[in-house]
Structure formats: C-alpha cells, structure tokens
C-alpha cells in the first residue's frame, strides 16, 4: 500500500524535504540546481523539465510510466534505484512510510493547483 499524501502532514514533510534540498527546489523558476525542480511534481509528466539532463534510465522509465502519480512517487521515494535501476540520483530512499507520505504532502502543498 502506497503512502498517499492525503494522510501526510506537509509541515512534517518540510523536514523530510531536507533529504532532497541539496539538489532540488520547490520553486517553479529555480531550475539551475543539480536535480530538477519539484514544483508541481505530483501529476507531472516524468522527466519533463525542459533543458534538464535526465539519466538514460529515467528517460526510459518515462516511456513506460507517463506521470508521477502519488503512488508512483511513493514507490520511487522508498527506493529510487529499485523502481528506476541506474537512476543517477544517489539518494538511497526514505524508509518510513509516514515520512514519505509527509514528504509527498509537502510537495503537493507547494503546488498552487492544490
């Protein structure tokens, strides 16, 4: 069972976002970091930030899975290398399901569509 954001706490999720902070932003116009911006990532097309050099593995993954659903994000955050072998993201993952739910809730909270 995935960790859906409806059960997550975005305030706690901001703390969990520190795992991502060195490479990712949640600002839409901050696209010059080592990783793509995570603004609007929930529901966004996979590997779709214009001009970003995604790994061959993630580009291939985008051919199989169209968008980052909450469930797919949860599986990715749990162990990125298991869902996308050879992803260039070194981060080993967030083990705790509630922490992943908090993080996804935080990411969604930064998206003005929600």
């Amino acid at each position: 069972m995935g960790a859906l954001a409806d059960g997550g706490d975005p305030v706690q999720g901001e703390k969990a976002f520190q795992y991502c902070y060195s490479c990712h932003s949640v600002q839409p116009d901050e696209t010059n970091l080592p990783g793509p911006s995570l603004y609007g990532i929930v529901g966004r097309r996979i590997a779709s930030q214009e001009g970003f050099s995604y790994s061959p593995a993630l580009r291939a993954f985008a051919q199989r899975e169209e968008r980052w659903s909450e469930e797919l994000l949860d599986r990715y955050l749990a162990a990125p290398y298991k869902l996308v072998p050879k992803t260039s993201m070194a981060f080993p993952g967030v083990e705790a399901q509630d922490e992943r739910a908090d993080l996804i809730a935080y990411l969604r909270s930064k998206d003005e569509r929600y």
Binding site: Y19, S55, A57
Partner: protein, 325 residues
C-alpha cells in the same frame, strides 16, 4: 582522431577479475555483490581497497589479490557517501544517513561515530579530507562545512556562503583546505583560524563545480559538472584556466590528481575516465566496464587509480606504472 583526446586502445580490453595471474593487467574490474552501490573508494593501508556501500550502510573492503569483498555495517540508518584513509590508517566515512563522521578501525573493526550537533539538522554529509595537522574537514551538501578534531572529539560546523552546494573537498601540500560548491557554482578556501570560507569564482558562470583536488604544487583542479569542463585554479597567481572535455555532451563528475600530477576526470557523458596531462594538455580516454557505470569519485595510490562504478556494482583500477617510470 582528435588531437586533444587519444583513446587508450592498448587498454580497451580490460578484464574482470579471474583470480589468477591478473595482478599486472593495466585496467581491471572487480565485481561486487549486486546492490552494493559503491559511491566512493579509498585505498587501504594493507593493499586492500575500501568503498562506501551507500545503500547497504556499510564500509566495503575489497582484497584485490583474491577479488573477495565483504562489508562492515556502520549503524542504524547509515548511508555513507564518502570514505578516505586517515593519517591513523583508519577508514573515515561521511555518513549522511547517520549525520555523523564515522571511523572504522582496520585492525579491530570497531566502529565509532561522531554525530553532528543536534541543532545543525540534516546536513547531507558529503566528502572529507584531513589537513596536515590531522584535523578532519568535511562538507554537507545542504549548505555546511565543518571540522572534527579526532583527538578531542570537538566538532564545529559552519553555514556555507551561498547556502546549499558544498561537495568535494581537498587539502593542499601547504595545508590549505578548499571545497567545491556544486549548486553554488564556486570553490571556496576555508580560513582555518576563523572558519570563514572565501568564495572563489571560476570564469564560467553556472559551471557546477562538483569536486576539487590539489596537485603537488598546491593548484586546485576542479570538475565542472554543468559545463563539462576541467578547471584549474592557481592560488599563487590567483588565475584560472579551463578545458572542455572531449565529446558532444561531457559531464565532469569526479576529479583526482595522481602522484605524477596527472589529472583524472570521470565523464558521465561519454561513460569514460579521462586522464589529462597538464604538460601536453591532452586527454586520454579509458572506457568504463559498461554504460552508465557512473563513477562518482576517484582516488588512488602510487601506480593505481581506483574508480567506483556505482551504477555497475564494480570497482575498477587503472594501473599507471607506465606513467610512473
């Protein structure tokens, strides 16, 4: 053939470890257990080789003479990024998962951890280096750098200028300490008296300075990830030079300078390791064992350059005896 880049055809036929009579192969790969994910590598004092098994929360130990490897677990939530050999002969790891500096004694295999101060928060510990006084300096990619005095256990952490980004770190023969800021697009020199970091800007904007390494003259070589360039900062002249890596879309990840002042760079764009001779300004390319091997760091000892293939669960060595003669 491009004049600035020669392919090391003589070394193309690298071989996996076979267990017999393979010690003199110029380029050799050592398979590790699936899922090891060796992030960084460091030669150990007894001829073995350490690696940070980031996804296993462990220090890995490879015996190149047998090809056998094993792991020492570092603790709950461990996810080590870097490993180096300290002046005490021990393995020192920057463990992001534990937010701690970890030491593993090579004789007793005792694991000791120095947690960063609680109020610092998660720093995303990255890489470390010892200066000539035996002080351990480290970076935290979330925007920190710091030092640990192994004798007293005192830890001091500073917020980096311009925030997130501190990545590779190096010490010069004179004892100066520099780090690279990947997200901050600069390198910085740490004033070891005050702890202040002085930002030094490479000529190329947005270059993505990821790792740094000092040569024997105290010059700082920089792998510029975004720009796909090799940079060189000369502190005495306060001057820069930069060289574009060969190929269509180079991405310079790791940099290391060997005992002969030959510079080594991993290029993810070409799935290759490049050596660069500062005297001739020529690159020589060595292929990795497979596509997307993703070499994130380079370290060696005289005659050997070691490469962790994080994407392939292998270590590779390039033996440089020819260049050492």
């Amino acid at each position: 053939m491009l004049p600035a880049c020669r392919i090391a055809f003589a070394l193309l036929a690298f071989l996996a470890f076979t267990g017999s009579g393979s010690a003199q192969q110029p380029q050799q790969v050592f398979p590790l257990p699936e899922g090891t994910y060796p992030h960084d590598v460091a030669p150990a004092p007894d001829g073995k080789v350490w690696y940070s098994a980031q996804r296993n929360g462990a220090l890995g130990i490879l015996d190149p003479s047998t090809g056998q490897s094993r792991e020492i677990k570092l603790g709950p939530k461990s996810a080590p990024h870097g490993v180096i050999q300290g002046p005490d002969g021990a393995a020192w790891l920057t463990d992001g998962g534990q937010n701690a500096i970890v030491r593993v004694d090579p004789q007793t295999e005792k694991v000791m951890a120095w947690k960063l101060p609680e109020d610092t928060g998660y720093t995303n510990l990255n890489t470390a280096v010892f200066d000539m006084d035996g002080i351990h300096w480290f970076t935290g990619q979330n925007g920190f750098y710091g030092r640990l005095n192994p004798r007293s256990g005192e830890i001091k952490v500073w917020k980096a200028p311009r925030g997130r980004g501190p990545y590779g770190i190096t010490a010069t023969p004179e004892g100066d300490v520099y780090y690279a800021s990947l997200a901050g697009n600069h390198i910085a020199r740490i004033d070891k008296t005050t702890g202040d970091a002085m930002v030094i800007e490479p000529p190329t904007k947005g270059q993505g300075a990821r790792r740094v390494w000092s040569d024997t003259k105290g010059r700082i070589w920089v792998s510029e990830w975004n720009a796909g360039q090799l940079g060189l900062y000369d502190p005495k002249a306060n001057s820069w030079r930069e060289w574009k890596l060969p190929g269509d879309k180079p991405q310079a990840y790791a940099v290391y300078v060997d005992d002969n002042d030959i510079v080594w760079v991993s290029d993810w764009g070409a799935d290759a390791i490049l050596s660069f001779d500062p005297a001739t300004e020529q690159f020589t390319s060595y292929p990795m064992s497979e596509a997307d091997a993703n070499v994130r760091q380079i370290l060696g000892r005289p005659g050997e350059v070691w490469l962790p293939e994080s994407g392939a669960d292998r270590l590779m060595v390039i033996r440089t005896a020819r260049q050492s003669q």
